[in-house]
Symmetry: C2
Subunit: 470 residues, 2 copies
């Protein structure tokens, strides 16, 4: 038996992750510590995910715009919690155009401050509200313990920023984004089930009144925060003087939200679905959905493979032929499995002679002979099945690794292998701190039935989900 | 007569430009000098243009990837001309994560150096070539005299970087990009005719052996460099040690190209087509292609407008209804003209009673009554006409403002109002310097028939196009 292509997950999950990122050619380290090169295969996945998020962001009525990378240091200081939260992570430009700058500028760690400076100019009347803006951009947060996709000094993301006439309007928008943009993309496209809930005060975004979150479970039972949606109250509108004349003509400070999801989602995709053979991509995000592998290039095999790829492409499938017959068949199969291509069609001279092809599912390894004439239909049918099966499998795994507990100590113990649910009131009187000291954190607060709780800080009657986290 | 909405172009073209950018809500200045906020309407145009460029970039076989914003200062120094060219424009990060950095990092002014560090790892064999990579990113070049879209400290662009086994392969790719990506997008989508040609040694990119360019003529007769495609020879492959084993097994340095187009194209779009009423957008890039303006909201007018918008959208047209009848009809019309919407359909109660609507072309102002049942077809037909007419008009204007001259002095004189063509040999012996001292520059070198000349530095038998430039 050949040596395994990757360190098995059970042996060393972080090492397995690193190896998948490298061997599937997703990303590599940049020369400046903590920076990342996203390689073409990784970027192609990101582009597909971006398009799905962008479509849903526009569907809720937001429009895209672009704001500067450089923010005057003084802007950051206007909102007290915000500057305190981000100061330790800032990159600072002190020289520009060959001269020392009069006021240093920071490279945006997030764009609340600079976007709200524009909002203050754009918003005058209640007729200008709601204002829903989204930006696709790079941001920088100096990272001491970088890990590709998960924690990088520079990352790519979208950040939405909105302003509303009333607090309920802002609340409603924050939750709409959580559900219709993030939760929907994660479940339907990434095939990752997420818990949605409220962050505790300790885990809240710097400057928010309430932070809502989507938390996924990774293959090692740890949690990954996949996106957050913040209610900012009037914190930034007061700091940046964003006021509007209401219908009676009085000046009122706007109510705001902000929300973001980043290239971190690539890490989620790898860790939620990957197995010891490599990536397992949900078809909706696979740059190559079906690869047609020519086993040996003779007796019309190449022609049959090309015809099948044409047929698949005509049906809207992202299909590729692999006719690199100077590389061994086995090695090519290992490579396509590493890259997580959902469906593989193998064609060799013997198959063709029998009027059939072999269709293989990446998720289960299930391998079946299919009549040549039904090959395209068979591959397409399997794409749907793989998309559904990956989600179902992730849901089952999460259920199996989630336990109900009644004490902080039991929560910490259960969090070594998955999620623990406990009465949120136990977090009081140092309960949350004891969790943190034991290396686990409160991922979110939910109503006992899994629904979202009210905004604010109330813990009574809620359930806290506790886990180790990335 | 109402005061004109904009300073007329003939009175003060730069002021007209500033006013269009502001009043059409395309962009505004950021707080850090030279930075820019691209507002939603401007960004929507950019997104359409990006999609067109991206499609053509992928069609030539390039794939997208992403490289870090931060480059170690030492990387820039590896290619001597490159660092000399960019040093005066660099933004330098000296502090990160609360500490002074051991080695300062520069914010990328362009990514040749950091991308080639990856290429050195990715390229081993002739089988790895050609390698065609594109990146969509923000770059920073400290700008002392900023102008929105045209010269900004931070701008958005795409930059392509390729590596090839031979010099002819690199040459061919550089020209393919020039023609099939840039020239094609500019003519077919932006409706801007461009001159393609070679830059003189003096105007060449820092580190290139040959720079190819697309030069457009703006409404004031000045030139705008709209995109460039560079042959880099082996300059960067030697500096970054990018070698491959050729078929005989010898190690050879790769031959390279790089090429880019930026948000500067937004400036071209404004200045090539705009008139004293504002923008005139080519339909291919108009976020709103047809606006249906409700003159007065009674007697079924709103319903008729909504039905027409539905019909247009079903036909794939980007259509919007304007039923803000609390704002005067005239003011709304001025606003849609400012925003350059190519076709406007006006519907009022009197029109409806007569079974017709009024269809107005933004480019010519041509206004016609059209039977209500034919309104959608009439609007769609006009979109095609506007797209063609804007290109034809730009071609005529350029012809009328281009003259053949026989001396440097005549070239400088002619360049006050347009383009001058003169024998390139006149640039020798200080001819080009005399042009520059008189405030004009050599935009490109062409064969006498307008074709591209050979790569290199040869001037004999070529025509030089001289103009004032942005």
């Amino acid at each position: 038996m050949a040596a395994p292509v990757l360190t098995p997950r059970a042996v060393d999950f972080p090492r397995w992750y690193q190896e998948v990122v490298a061997k599937a050619e997703l990303a590599e380290n940049g020369p400046v510590r903590g920076t990342m090169v996203i390689r073409p295969y990784g970027y192609a996945i990101w582009e597909l995910l971006q398009a799905e998020l962008d479509r849903r962001i526009k569907a809720i009525g937001a429009v895209n715009a672009y704001f500067p990378l450089f923010i005057p240091e003084s802007y950051l200081r206007r909102e007290a919690e915000h500057v305190e939260g981000f100061s330790p992570e800032l990159a600072v430009v002190t020289h520009g155009g060959g001269k020392e700058l009069e006021e240093p500028v920071v490279v945006r760690p997030t764009s609340e401050t600079i976007i709200n400076a524009s909002f203050a100019r754009w918003i005058q009347s209640h007729r200008d509200l709601p204002l829903l803006i989204n930006q696709w951009a790079n941001v920088v947060r100096w990272e001491l313990r970088p890990r590709l996709f998960l924690r990088t000094t520079e990352f790519l993301w979208q950040e939405g920023h909105t302003a509303h006439a009333t607090e309920p309007d802002a609340h409603e928008l924050a939750l709409r984004v959580l559900r219709e943009v993030y939760d929907a993309t994660m479940a339907e496209i990434m095939a990752i089930p997420v818990l949605t809930g409220r962050k505790t005060e300790r885990e809240r975004f710097a400057g928010a009144t309430t932070t809502w979150t989507c938390e996924g479970m990774m293959g090692d039972g740890k949690a990954l925060q996949m996106a957050t949606s913040h209610e900012l109250g009037q914190n930034f509108s007061r700091a940046f003087d964003i006021t509007f004349a209401d219908e009676s003509g009085s000046l009122v400070h706007a109510w705001q939200t902000s929300w973001g999801a980043s290239t971190r989602l690539m890490g989620a995709l790898i860790m939620a679905h990957g197995d010891d053979g490599g990536l397992r991509l949900p078809p909706a995000l696979a740059p190559v959905q079906v690869v047609v592998v020519v086993a040996r290039a003779d007796q019309g095999v190449g022609e049959a493979a090309a015809a099948l790829v044409d047929e698949l492409r005509a049906a809207g499938v992202r299909a590729e032929v692999d006719d690199r017959t100077d590389t061994s068949f086995g090695r090519r199969v290992v490579d396509w499995e590493l890259k997580g291509v959902p469906v593989r069609v193998e064609i060799g001279p013997r198959d063709l002679a029998a009027g059939q092809v072999t269709v293989v599912r990446r998720d289960t390894g299930d391998k079946q002979a299919v009549p040549q004439a039904a090959a395209a239909a068979g591959a397409i049918e399997r794409l749907d099945l793989v998309q559904q099966a990956l989600l179902a499998e992730a849901i089952s795994r999460r259920s199996a690794a989630t336990v109900e507990v009644a004490t902080i100590e039991d929560a910490v113990a259960a969090a070594q292998t998955g999620f623990a649910r406990l009465p949120a009131a136990l977090l009081l009187d140092g309960g949350e701190r004891r969790c943190n000291e034991a290396g686990v954190s409160v991922r979110c607060l939910q109503a006992p039935d899994g629904d979202l709780p009210a905004a604010g800080d109330e813990l009574d009657g809620l359930v806290a989900v506790v886990a180790r986290a990335y």
